[in-house]
Amino acid sequence: MKPVNVKEVKAFLKVLALSVPLLMNAGTTAFAATGHAGEAEMHGTPAVIEEAAVAHGEGDAHGAEGEHSDKPGDVIMHHILDSNVYAFEPFGEVHLPKIVVGGYDISITKHVVIMWIAAAIVLLVFASVGGTYRKMTAKNAPKGLANAMEALVDFIRLDVAKSNIGPGFEKFLPYLLTVFFFILLCNLLGLVPYGATPTGNINVTLTLAVFTFFITQTASLKAHGLKGYLAHLTAGTHWSLWIIMIPIEIIGLFTKPFALTVRLFANMTAGHIVILSLIFISFILKSYVVAVAVSVPFSIFIYLLEIFVSFLQAFIFTMLSALFIGLATVHDGHDEHEAGVAHH
């Protein structure tokens, strides 16, 4: 008797779960159709769908700059782009100070704030971990936070820095570690509520890549001297080929930081655009079924993927920085290594 009852209840619940969203969906569609009937006359049917979607989207995803976004694209862009206003919807917004020095606008923006939060978290974590290590002797085993961070630090130290740069890697270790944890925190802060992704802004990634570029070139100059550095630019070819080789090598110098810039920026931006687009599908199609079956599961999946990508991109930026430094300091096997890098 009992199992049959349970089965019946389950079946009933299944039907209910399927039918209720459909019923509600029908209601909203009817409402949207009546509410925008006038506009529909002017814009034609596709516009109805879009307008209605925005009418729903505005509630939780609308920008805070005062002007009203009209399309999902604008809302998405608003989330991704930097701004002078930090919005905590629906609680309000904070207008960030605008600073102009010598004609340059260096005002504090949303991404600057998030970057500072990331920097503060990194500083706090590693100040405490560093304090632990300062107190510790070689005989103590690390535990807790220090142990967790040690795994990452040791990974960067041995698998990224030592294996790519080789002897003398200790000099570059502070830069590589800082860049890894800074990018990681910036990436992850884009995934918390009210967060943003500074590394999804090309200005930030460009600055970080320029740091790598300068460090690479300085390391190369130090390792080979000025003469060796210039000889490097000719790629060891005959002088008659220099007219071709030198421009190519110089372009090659700049493609590396450019690749770093675009890789990090595009990866972080793309994930956010995908998540927001998936959510907007349900608003555009005005369907609860789509929301339950497509938008939510897929955006959760992309969100989890983004957590992985945050670590991966921080690692790749660090890895490639180490690789470029290693290539710049060691002359042998230059071309083979570079060919391998191109596939990343």
């Binding site: 399309k71 862009m77 260096i106 500083l123 290590y133 800082t178 460009l206």
Partner: protein, 175 residues
């Protein structure tokens, strides 16, 4: 979706922002400098120290093992040598004992033989002396008997009695 793609290209996604570049550079350099002083130094030196510690511990363990092995080998050699020595000593002792025993028994035999010969000689001498004494006695008796016979007459019965009594005397004396 197409509209968002269009906005992506036309929007401010790739627009430069000197303020953000400036703040990124400042923030990053500050974080780098502070962390270098506060965290990376101690952490990396601790890691290196530990690595060196582990390496030296491994080296020490290897050395200790080698040393223990050499000591063991030496001990085994010494033990084998001691065994051989002990065996040699036992064998020598046995040989010596054997020899001593043989010598002793030989000596004892010789001694015994000597004692026996000397005893035999003494017995012989003693026997000879006893015989001499007996002979003298018999001669004396014969002379005494003859004297008696001569003293009394030459009576046959008498003579016979005399001889008998003499023999009886002799036999009682002998006992």
């Amino acid at each position: 979706m197409l509209t968002s793609g269009v906005i992506l290209l036309s929007g401010g996604l790739l627009s430069p922002n000197p303020g953000l570049i400036f703040w990124t550079a400042v923030t990053f350099v500050l974080v780098l400098l502070i962390l270098k002083k506060l965290a990376w130094g101690p952490i990396i030196s601790a890691l290196e120290e530990r690595e060196n510690g582990i390496q030296s511990a491994i080296d020490r363990a290897h050395n200790a093992k080698d040393e223990a092995e050499s000591i063991l080998r030496k001990n085994r050699e010494m033990l084998a040598k001691a065994d051989a020595e002990a065996e040699r000593i036992i064998r020598e002792g046995k040989d010596f004992g054997e020899k001593l025993r043989a010598e002793m028994s030989e000596k004892a035999q010789a001694e015994a033989k000597k004692i026996i010969t000397s005893a035999k000689e003494e017995i012989e001498q003693e026997k000879r002396r006893a015989l001499d004494v007996l002979r003298n006695e018999v001669a004396d008796l014969a002379v005494m008997g003859a004297e008696k016979i001569i003293k009394t007459s030459l009576d046959a019965d008498m003579q016979k009695r005399i001889v008998d009594s003499m023999i009886q005397d002799l036999s009682s004396k002998r006992n």
